[in-house]
Amino acid sequence: MNGNGPQKHILGTKDKPKSMMNQLSLPSWDSPEGRVWISRIRDNVPFIAITLVILLFWFISGDRFMSVRNWTFIAQQTPVLLLLAFAQLLVVTTGSIDISVGSNLGFSAYMAALGMLWFGELGFLVGIFSAVFIGVLNGTIFSLFKISSFVTTLAMLIIVRAVLVIVSDGRSIYVSDQPMSNSNITSIEAKWLLDLGQFPQILYFTVIVAVLLWVVYEKTVFGQQLKALGGNEKVLRLTGISVNWFKIQVFAAAGFMVGLASFINLARSGAATVQAGEMLELDAIAAVALGGTVLTGGYGSVLKTVVGALTLTIVANGLTIAGVPPSWSRIARGLLLITAIAISLNRKQIDVVK
């Protein structure tokens, strides 16, 4: 799925179809000013969407939605999803996908808890290492064996969750703020971790990660390479860049982000469970897509991914407050996703949809 689409447009071929397009589409839309307008709207879909969503729920639920208490709740709800979406953003920018992030989150959170059980506070690093390790595994299988990232990470999604079940034997590890005497429950004492899961610490942590990621994504050679890989992998290969090694690095970086997400999830939920992160990979992909990042790669935005993750959280939150049953809430979120993508896609640049 790496950037085969846009290549055909590279050299001037766009000059020929232009006259055809003129006949087909509305003149006002295809005038230069019209095109600038459309692309401006397209660029800002995530911001428009979140504004509309906020106004809508404000209108429906009034102060129950627009309260400090509810926004504090939203600020606590968003970080885990956002960090997972960041992991996804790194991979999606290169034109690949990582659907193992949910399983990886569950597994790494459990490893972090185990690590703390064994080695004390710094043992949480075991979780981060586990997440990076799974990322490296994904990247290696995907790039060296040339198995598509979708299939590779689908297999990993299944395997990692199963390994978690085996390792944990179905038992959770709890985080508590005081020594626990009940010997039937496995628990670690780490008040600092639970505090980190609370507002405003959880927000500070997430903002710092977001800013650092923005710097990496926009300002570093690594970030630029991500977009270039999504743009034209063949050219990168011809210029002697070690694309396989770079892909492994990308999945490792995504793994690191999953590690941070799992850490925050442990802090927030106060437990490492077998189910942690289940289905969250889908929300992560949806957040990236709502953030206007094309899933075919080459483009992306950290800020818009933040907006995408926030939008998703707000919609879930708003529908709950409005009393919409969970299943209907899911349907609404699915429709929102399709609508947002439909608006942000530039169909003229798409030859083939698979």
Binding site: P6, L11, T220, K227
Partner: protein, 248 residues
């Protein structure tokens, strides 16, 4: 061409087979500094195979190439090594990363860094302006926008500029204007004439014989895998050339 100078590139009797098909059979040519050498031939004659061997993409079954008098051994015959020796190839449709800026495309594979990890955007933009000015490519819109928003001629000019920006002395252009309209073709031809002035040696593959006559100093005809004839541009007519291409 400068007939008393030494060739910068020599191709000596290279052959290459794919399965049973002998795509190239004892191909030979010399390339001199400051000349544009055109390689012409019918479809399937073996031009691309010859170019890929020179670029290091393919290793010859027999024969070898020499660059500046240095014989490239079989072990060294790779894209990386030959690139290091100063050979740059511009492919007709693979030359550009469309979603990246012109400076990024010019610096492809050698992005200048600040503090080891950051992109030195200022340096890239300055150098891009310099190269574009040298190639007399004017009216490039924004160096911050994706290169796909530029005209095809400007895009291909950047791809050629990439070769000369790094002091490459041998530039191979594989059908550089095949995908371009007339105006854009003109722009790229101007660029080719500019790099000739810099004493760069250029190999041009083109189906467009008018273009070959406009640009080339010398022509090598490839016929059924063999470098069958060689002409100075001034000593051959189009008819003679067409005959050589079709009958060897």
């Amino acid at each position: 061409m400068n007939s008393n100078s030494k060739p910068i590139l020599e191709v000596n009797g290279v052959s290459k087979s794919f399965g049973g098909v002998e795509a190239l059979r004892e191909g030979s040519l010399n390339l001199f500094p400051g000349e544009v050498l055109a390689i012409v031939g019918a479809n399937g004659a073996g031009k691309s195979t010859l170019i890929k061997i020179i670029a290091g993409v393919l290793t010859p079954d027999r024969g070898h190439i020499s660059i500046r008098g240095t014989k490239i051994t079989r072990q060294d015959h790779s894209v990386g090594f030959i690139r290091q020796m100063g050979v740059e190839v511009v492919y007709q449709d693979l030359a550009i990363v469309p979603n990246m800026t012109a400076p990024y495309n010019l610096f492809l594979g050698r992005i200048p860094k600040k503090f080891g990890i950051f992109v030195d955007v200022k340096q890239m933009q300055a150098k891009t302006r310099e190269v574009l000015a040298e190639l007399k490519v004017e009216t490039v819109q924004s160096l911050k926008r994706p290169i796909s928003e530029m005209s095809g001629g400007q895009q291909q000019s950047i791809a050629i500029g990439r070769a000369i920006a790094w002091g490459k002395e041998i530039v191979i252009l594989d059908e550089p204007t095949a995908a371009l309209g007339p105006n854009e073709t003109q722009q790229v031809e101007r660029v080719i004439n500019e790099i000739r002035k810099r004493n760069t040696a250029t190999i041009l593959i083109s189906h467009n014989l008018d273009q070959v006559f406009r640009l080339a100093d010398r022509l090598v005809v490839v016929h059924q895998g063999h470098t069958s004839k060689e002409f100075l541009r001034n000593e051959v007519t189009i008819d003679e050339l067409v005959k050589a291409i079709t009958t060897g």
